[in-house]
């Protein structure tokens, strides 16, 4: 199993997903420093092959 790609995701990107409601988006904007807003979580692409 290997991680082949990592991408930073922003608060604005997460806000597009209905799972992240207005409450959690507002919390992130308020509690995280501005320099973190474009890199709040990481999307990872993982690949594996069954033996």
């Amino acid at each position: 199993m290997e991680i082949v790609e990592r991408l930073p995701l922003s608060i604005d990107f997460l806000a597009l997903d209905p799972l992240f409601d207005e409450e959690i988006i507002a919390l992130m904007r308020e509690l995280l420093p501005p320099e973190r807003h474009d890199d709040v979580v990481t999307a990872a692409v993982l690949r594996a092959r069954r033996r």
Binding site: F13, L19, F20, L27, A43, V45, A48, R51
Partner: protein, 190 residues
Amino acid sequence: MTDLMHADEIRQYVKHAYSSIQSTGGVSAKELYSPDELALVPASTIDLSLGVANHLRWADLPVSATVLDIGCGAGIDSILAAHRVGPSGRVVALDFLPEMLGRTREGAAAAGTPSVEVLQGTMEAIPLRAASIDVVVSNGVINLSPRKARVFAECARVVRPGGQLCMSDIMIDEEDLPPEVLTHPAAWAG
């Protein structure tokens, strides 16, 4: 560690979030997919796309392969996979929400990809035979399960020996996020 006592609560939260999704304007799709890829997909499918990465770029999808797309949503990855495996291939688009399956069915028809077939079911109990799939793909979905180990066991069961899993999802550093965010139900997606 998963708290199975909250599994139903998590599932209901996820179901509520995604069962009545409206258009996103295609913003996330335009950020993740190339113009050439988006040209293969109906606008209605692009509008409802909610992936977190473009994992198909890393997937080995030969012509005639059988692909399982776990949590197909509105179907963008199923349709793109269908274009790569061709009419002799097969793409099983799995989702537990009938609304999403309907959109995938419509999008696949509009895209001219008859090899996409929708299947309703859960990723914790994939309604497919063992070793029946060449490639399992998934985009920002497995994190939504309260039983992730079970999901990976099911992936291993349905993929044939030598087959591939190629997935994308969100990772978080728990030490990096405030507790108010980590304890919110939506944080389950991370």
